[in-house]
Amino acid sequence: MKNRLKVLRAERDWSQSDLADALDVSRQTINALETGKYDPSLPLAFKIARLFTLKIEDIFEDAP
């Protein structure tokens, strides 16, 4: 699954650790999310969307 996490984080000048703290996950999880190696659960996806005040589909794209 593709996502815009890295871009959204960079726009806000946040580090991976900043984002990890805001979402209450580890930095490794943020890295895996950004590189598309891990797909978040629905609750985490909602949490991410709320943090960036965007819709889930504005952040994540269901790429084949």
């Binding site: 900043d18 703290d21 805001a22 580890s26 490794q28 999880t29 895996a32 190696k37």
Partner: protein, 169 residues
């Protein structure tokens, strides 16, 4: 256009709090394990010394009861620590454990065990002298088998867990 300056508050404070919690959790594990090993060493030394001094055989010794008590205490401590550990890790870390449990502990472990168990079940006259030699009685051989099963599944679990994390990095 969204206001990009709307940062969620207090990132560094939250990080330091989380980091302290994480450190305390691992410090408890390391110190607890160290204390247990030292304690077990001291108790084993004392029991061995006493058994030797009194010239007691293993059947007369109190050592097996002490070992059982220590193992039970260790199990309770590990369980209590695991509850805290599980509550402190995030969803990806939990996913790693669940995948490792299914594929590493379950599938790989059982596949390896199957390679040994199947011949035992198919060939009724098969006797592996080594097992009986090490195990001694049927009870001890059974215990050894159960311990082997646990070791193999734990190894499968550990290897799969490590590979899982390496691939996500």
């Amino acid at each position: 256009m969204k206001n990009l300056n709307e940062l969620p508050p207090a990132f560094p404070e939250k990080r330091s709090e989380k980091s302290k919690k994480k450190k305390a959790l691992w410090l408890t594990a390391i110190l607890g394990y160290g204390a247990l090993m030292l304690g077990m060493g001291a108790v084993a030394f004392y029991l061995g010394y006493e058994d030797g001094r009194e010239q007691r055989s293993i059947n007369e010794s109190h050592s097996p009861y002490v070992i059982v008590a220590v193992v039970l205490t260790f199990m309770i401590a590990v369980f209590a620590w695991s509850v805290r550990y599980w509550r402190n890790i995030d969803e990806m870390a939990k996913r790693a454990h669940l995948d490792a449990f299914f594929w590493g502990g379950g599938m790989i472990g059982w596949a390896i065990l199957g390679a040994f168990l199947t011949p035992m079940l198919i060939f009724p006259d098969l006797e592996w002298g080594v097992i009986e030699q090490i195990g001694g009685t049927t009870t001890h051989s059974f215990g050894m088998g159960a311990f082997t099963a646990l070791t193999v599944t734990t190894l499968g679990y550990g290897v799969f867990w490590l590979v899982w994390w390496a691939k996500k990095r």
